[in-house]
Symmetry: C2
Subunit: 145 residues, 2 copies
């Protein structure tokens, strides 16, 4: 095993996350996650997964068959300080080489923390969203909360 | 208008958030949100809302009719530093005084930032989740991503 990469910014860590996702590369994906802090992952429509073991198992299953994914990201928003960065963005993920309708977009909140080994992901919360565009006035929530 | 409350911890700000939600109190709700940073809110199944104006309008509509809500929170996880705190938790929200099946739980990621006026919310990302218990091994994601 080679030593893990060091991401010097949250942006680098995020690029590595989506690169690993697009290639269904489990080791590259898990290299992005923090080993020092509590980590949490919610896949779209799925339960909350706590801890590296549960998160790794979820990606292992998602990456079964090595799907090649096309990923387009849009509408980034960032909140950041020296030690923590929060990105929210809209993901458009589809299987490469497959003729299929475009999937519903996903809204993701990604939290990165800076530690001794650079920036690592601590939270990935993804959920289906009705539209790709941010909606300041329409498309309001469909449930009480 | 009275001046806004100052929350000295993220835990205080979060308590104020869920108290405002339970009472459908729009002014109390908006007092929790940061006025200094980019703010983002995703209601369950809804679009990403950016900015105080869009977020306020969404809560105004949700609070229409002044629903009284019972809110039970469980399974907190926290990642924090001096300036930013991330809570993930499971919300169980139901209408008070109404006989109805328990609603599906919601997983929420709440981000708070510390500024000149104490701790304020900058991100609330809530999405339906299939079960109340965290699931390290079962209930895996139902979509590719």
């Amino acid at each position: 095993m080679s030593s893990k990469p060091i991401y010097t910014t949250a942006v680098e860590a995020e690029a590595a996350f989506y690169d690993a996702l697009s290639r269904a590369d489990l080791e590259a994906m898990m290299a992005v996650w923090s080993e020092d802090e509590e980590v949490m992952c919610v896949h779209p429509g799925g339960p909350r997964l706590l801890g590296l073991t549960a998160i790794r198992e979820s990606w292992r299953q998602l990456f079964h068959g090595k799907p090649k994914l096309n990923i387009r990201l849009s509408h980034h928003v960032e909140t950041a300080n020296m030690m923590m960065t929060v990105h929210t963005l809209v993901e458009h993920v589809s299987l490469a080489d497959v003729e299929a309708p475009a999937p519903a977009p996903v809204v993701a909140t990604n939290v990165y923390s800076r530690g001794a080994y650079g920036w690592r992901m601590v939270v990935h919360h993804a959920s289906p969203t009705p539209e790709a565009q941010d909606s300041p006035a329409d498309g309001l929530p469909r449930t009480v909360h």
